[in-house]
Assembly symmetry: C2
Homo-oligomer: 331 residues x 2
């Protein structure tokens, strides 16, 4: 088995985020679940956009955000995801490539536009997401570059992309390609509602030993294990995956690997502006530590520092110099 | 003459800004003039975009930014500008309408895309702009709603839009409509290079008494008057316009009206992040004070407060609650 030339290759939704400040009253009046992610169709997207305040656009997508963080930290990364041949697709492709990430998936022909996520940001920074998947849900298995997958130490997958059929098939194929090459598969559960829809699939993947590193938050841990008690959930899940990372918002994060357990508090943040991407950037920091052979605790700390950066401004792509921010942890 | 139903109607470029952090070295290497605005074609836009780092998109356009500020302060506004029928056009139209501004100019049919401005932001917050005008340069005089112009206390025009032929003709027609209705015309000189190209036109408008309120910065004052000495420039220009407002960056601003002179220092800013829109938001604050009958000094102070808000974050559209920020000045 040859050494991988890349650190992480990810498959994820190729989304541009559209963010605007909102109020919890507006979020409730529009029938959204505060803090959740809802899939919407083109008509809903039009109506919800009309209800939003003046916005700003920043590239997003869960796994793509994680790669942006990893690349900013110095990791060598590739992205696989489906944009359309339109202006938002150009924005997404530009931003990911400008971050130094290889991205060669051809734009989708036809009329499906590039995915966008309408994000209502509450005064306390909580984000409520409404995703119109558009082209992103049509990522075909044929778009996979299996050589590139075999060439990356870690294949990283987002649970959000398990909803649409074609990307789900593509991710199954990618898992096989990664494992055949002797690489690791990392998976983020993304959202408790995604687990409601696809928990059986996820549990099967885990039981089959196809997931080496699993990321979850507290709600997702409960949804996957059926255990409402945090410790009970950890105890149930940890033996089934080589590395389990559970983020707990302001309570920090816990990781378990081969019987070892580590925990870190959340990094202090002057003001939480927008929590979009907190989990994505936590995963970036943790994975960077993992591929660089850092301890479980140091990897968690890297995750916490990156998450703190992302929630201190609008948008889920890093703005500050992450290398500088984590220098103390890596020293 | 009936009372106007609107405070300000503006004609300006309909632009989405694409911003990324940069370095002065990169700005020089790409042949740009730090702090300037350069018009670029589609090929240059493609090449420059490829050279930019990961970006973020926020609606822009000088006069449109000013209206966003005015509307946020509570003024009733309308905008006239040309977008295309594309995603960036939707973004621009959404943002201006979501700000409470009337915008009914039909999107341009055809292949010209919505205008974008590629903005390289230096570490000290200076912005260097590269504008691809696209659809914006084809605003036809037929798009003017002369009833709406007659119904606004102030017609506000941006010098940037004097470059392309069709909008220039539209603005001349708008000036006539506004003056025939007994309203005031406000004009911002926008950029010293614009004055190099169109100074004769601007001086003729001023000499004809067609400009009631003129906005300039120090460089533009010098370019228009040919006086490199600030006081000499003021002395030359002030008698020719009922209200002259000159912004001086960190030195504050000066206004002269009917022999009266007022000045304010710049408002303190914790950290200058991005100076894009500083002049636009200064104009917003000043015009708000003017239409509300405030003193010259109070109007300048309103301008300074709004400018300070805009340079403390990325993007030229206000993020903080401007009404709250200016409450002390209006009390």
């Amino acid at each position: 088995m040859s050494q991988p030339t890349h650190d992480v290759i990810a498959i994820g939704n190729a989304i541009v985020d559209v963010m605007a400040p909102s109020s919890d009253e507006q979020i409730e009046a529009l029938g959204m679940t505060r803090g959740g992610m809802m899939l919407i169709d083109a008509d809903q997207a039009r109506d919800l956009y009309a209800a939003m305040g003046p916005g700003r656009e920043v590239s997003g997508g869960s796994a793509a955000n994680t790669l942006a963080g990893l690349a900013a930290l110095g990791a060598k990364c590739s992205f696989i995801g489906q944009v359309a041949n339109d202006q938002l697709g150009e924005v997404f492709a530009h931003d990911i490539r400008a971050g130094g990430i290889a991205f060669t998936t051809p734009a989708l022909a036809g009329t499906e536009p590039t995915a966008r996520c309408l994000i209502f940001v509450s005064p306390d920074g909580q984000r409520t997401m409404n995703t119109f998947l558009g082209a992103s849900q049509f990522l075909p298995a044929s778009a996979l570059d299996e050589t590139a997958i075999a060439d990356a130490a870690i294949l990283y997958l987002e649970g959000y992309l398990w909803d649409p059929e074609e990307p789900r098939a593509a991710m199954r194929k990618a898992i096989a390609a990664s494992r055949n090459a002797g690489r690791k598969v990392a998976f983020t559960l993304s959202d408790a509602f995604v687990i409601d829809r696809h928990g059986d699939d996820f549990r099967k993947l885990i039981d089959a030993g196809d997931i080496d590193i699993l990321f979850a938050n507290e709600n997702e841990l409960a949804a996957l294990t059926g255990e409402n008690d945090f410790e009970a959930g950890l105890t149930a899940l940890a033996p089934k995956v080589p590395v389990l990372v559970v983020t707990r918002s302001e309570k920090g994060a816990v990781a378990m690997a081969g019987g070892e357990r580590a925990a870190v508090p959340a990094e202090p943040v002057e003001q939480v502006i927008d929590t979009t991407g907190a989990g994505d950037l936590f995963a970036a920091g943790f994975l960077f530590g993992h591929v660089r052979g850092k301890s479980l605790e140091a990897s968690l700390k890297l995750g916490a520092v990156c998450a703190a950066e992302i929630i201190s401004h609008y948008g889920a792509r890093p703005e500050a110099d992450l290398k500088e921010l984590v220098a103390g942890v890596l020293a």
